[in-house]
Symmetry: T
Amino acid sequence: MSDNIYKITEVVGTSETGIEDAIRGAIERTARTVNDIGWFEVTDTRGHVVDGKIAHFQVTLRIGFHVHD
Amino acid sequence: MSDNIYKITEVVGTSETGIEDAIRGAIERTARTVNDIGWFEVTDTRGHVVDGKIAHFQVTLRIGFHVHD
Amino acid sequence: MSDNIYKITEVVGTSETGIEDAIRGAIERTARTVNDIGWFEVTDTRGHVVDGKIAHFQVTLRIGFHVHD
Amino acid sequence: MSDNIYKITEVVGTSETGIEDAIRGAIERTARTVNDIGWFEVTDTRGHVVDGKIAHFQVTLRIGFHVHD
Amino acid sequence: MSDNIYKITEVVGTSETGIEDAIRGAIERTARTVNDIGWFEVTDTRGHVVDGKIAHFQVTLRIGFHVHD
Amino acid sequence: MSDNIYKITEVVGTSETGIEDAIRGAIERTARTVNDIGWFEVTDTRGHVVDGKIAHFQVTLRIGFHVHD
Amino acid sequence: MSDNIYKITEVVGTSETGIEDAIRGAIERTARTVNDIGWFEVTDTRGHVVDGKIAHFQVTLRIGFHVHD
Amino acid sequence: MSDNIYKITEVVGTSETGIEDAIRGAIERTARTVNDIGWFEVTDTRGHVVDGKIAHFQVTLRIGFHVHD
Amino acid sequence: MSDNIYKITEVVGTSETGIEDAIRGAIERTARTVNDIGWFEVTDTRGHVVDGKIAHFQVTLRIGFHVHD
Amino acid sequence: MSDNIYKITEVVGTSETGIEDAIRGAIERTARTVNDIGWFEVTDTRGHVVDGKIAHFQVTLRIGFHVHD
Amino acid sequence: MSDNIYKITEVVGTSETGIEDAIRGAIERTARTVNDIGWFEVTDTRGHVVDGKIAHFQVTLRIGFHVHD
Amino acid sequence: MSDNIYKITEVVGTSETGIEDAIRGAIERTARTVNDIGWFEVTDTRGHVVDGKIAHFQVTLRIGFHVHD
């Protein structure tokens, strides 16, 4: 009934295997310390290359979560 | 020989499984009612999180299609 | 010990199968002629649609590489 | 259980009285012809000035709605 | 006396001859099916090249029109 | 019959009470020295906070006016 | 006399009644746990729509505060 | 030999005939009152439409000029 | 049958006569050394002014071309 | 006690020696004719190169100043 | 061997002497409470002006650091 | 007398000592292989941090140079 407040935290997930794994990893690790995550938004997709192959995908996320009183 | 005109429609596809499935779903459903889609562009990649896991990927697309006379 | 210089080249990778394959293809082909690629950044994700299905994903990358003296 | 699709339509609401009235007017008129609006986003806030006073606020919205099968 | 509502549609005009012809063509074709167009805004100017010559200019427009009750 | 020229001036209005008051104040003060203002566009909405309360809203406007010969 | 450092936190305020109420609510709740807030900037204005009416305004703010040693 | 300072003024040129005429008109009128214009940059290309035809092109320019001591 | 790779090169064309001539000149000169240009995109339109008149239009293009194995 | 109004002027400072000197020069020259400058924001950092060396840094600033009644 | 996660915090450093000092101050103070900072990115360069002179440079940084399990 | 063409190359300069040194290094090394550089534009300012101190500034430049026939 009262109005809600959300905070946004910015996280970079990395994965050797792909973009979605980098996103999932970032969400799941953030969920260990932050309750009540509601959404995410991808703001940057980058990667690290070694010897001409992709070593890691690096995906920057803004993650929104509910702040309880 | 005459000049062509295209329209752009904006659609959000969602998928429980991943980004490309969200894109494919959006294209295929749009193709049920719009003929002659030519291209798409991803403008936003977001997701809905429930209990610390990604419930849906939400991908916003601009979809271009040929307008016939 | 001396300061390094990197160049950035812009490439569009395409793939019938998905976004990551388009990225990997672009990196691997660029690595045939450019040594010492260090990173990439995705700047655009588009696709070509034929008969209501995605024919190709088209992913634009900025690719950074070390310039040796 | 199946994945959902949303469309986004872009509308400019105007009001002599203020920004929120322009937004409400745009949502309510759009709702006459579009079912199941879910969200809006303000992308531009402008106004028309006559004789040194604001004649109309003009607020551009992207309005998202659920597409049913 | 009541507040007005406008919709924005996005169109790509093409022309073999130039940018303004692409714009004019897009406006004139849109006007066949949409009454009361009020303004346009150019958001992208591209072109298709064949054999080292410009085959078509492709100009993306946002076109605003009055929605009557 | 001849083509018109407009200039754009950029102004920040402030108000203790709200966004629209900051806009109105900026337009009305600009109108003391500039004739024939035609439109404005909001480009930034900020505020100053003192003791955990909003002391002022600060709204940046681009204001367009007709230049007469 | 020494140079100051500020941090920026990102918050989404919501309100059933309007944009300024969403901003005020976000500032006031943030001020419960953060001392010495100095300014805010609005980066996004969205809303949730239910049954063709605005259920909540959702305003994203960047909030700057002084970090004391 | 001393360092130079330039100012930037923002102007909207309009033309019934085309984009370049709108630009030329804006530059030439600005040059009546401002000496030593050095460059311009187009930031927006819009138009006004009446009865399904382009009535005016409206081109927004940033115009830079040398400030003399 | 295999996936294609395109490179993007960035070029500024200039012309005393107009925007389209600057674009055409940039495409035609680039085509002397680059085979298989497919498209261009205008990213900036500027000009040089001398004695209150436009001396040159300067148009920045991103030009995409097919990379053959 | 009454609400304040600020104007923003846009200036390009240049310096043979560096970015901060270009900024300082622009502020100090603007302060000769404008009272009560309150802040600046850097929007562009460019430079002119002659014979493979930087001849001038060119820094574009938005400069805000208080408008007194 | 496992995938890494980084967080991004946003900080404004200030300095009476210059841009790099503002950056260094922000990094060094953040390093008092955050281990394992890996990178920073400048997103805004502003300053405060008093009596026609720069009183402080204000540089906004996004600072990335490694999150350990 | 004929119209000129310029190319833009993108380079990242790095320096342990500061932003301007990173820019100068990038320009001077580029000038070893590219004649007739005319200008640069800074598009990104980042840095690498080790043990809580800035190890390198990394400045991304777009560098424009004249293409001779």
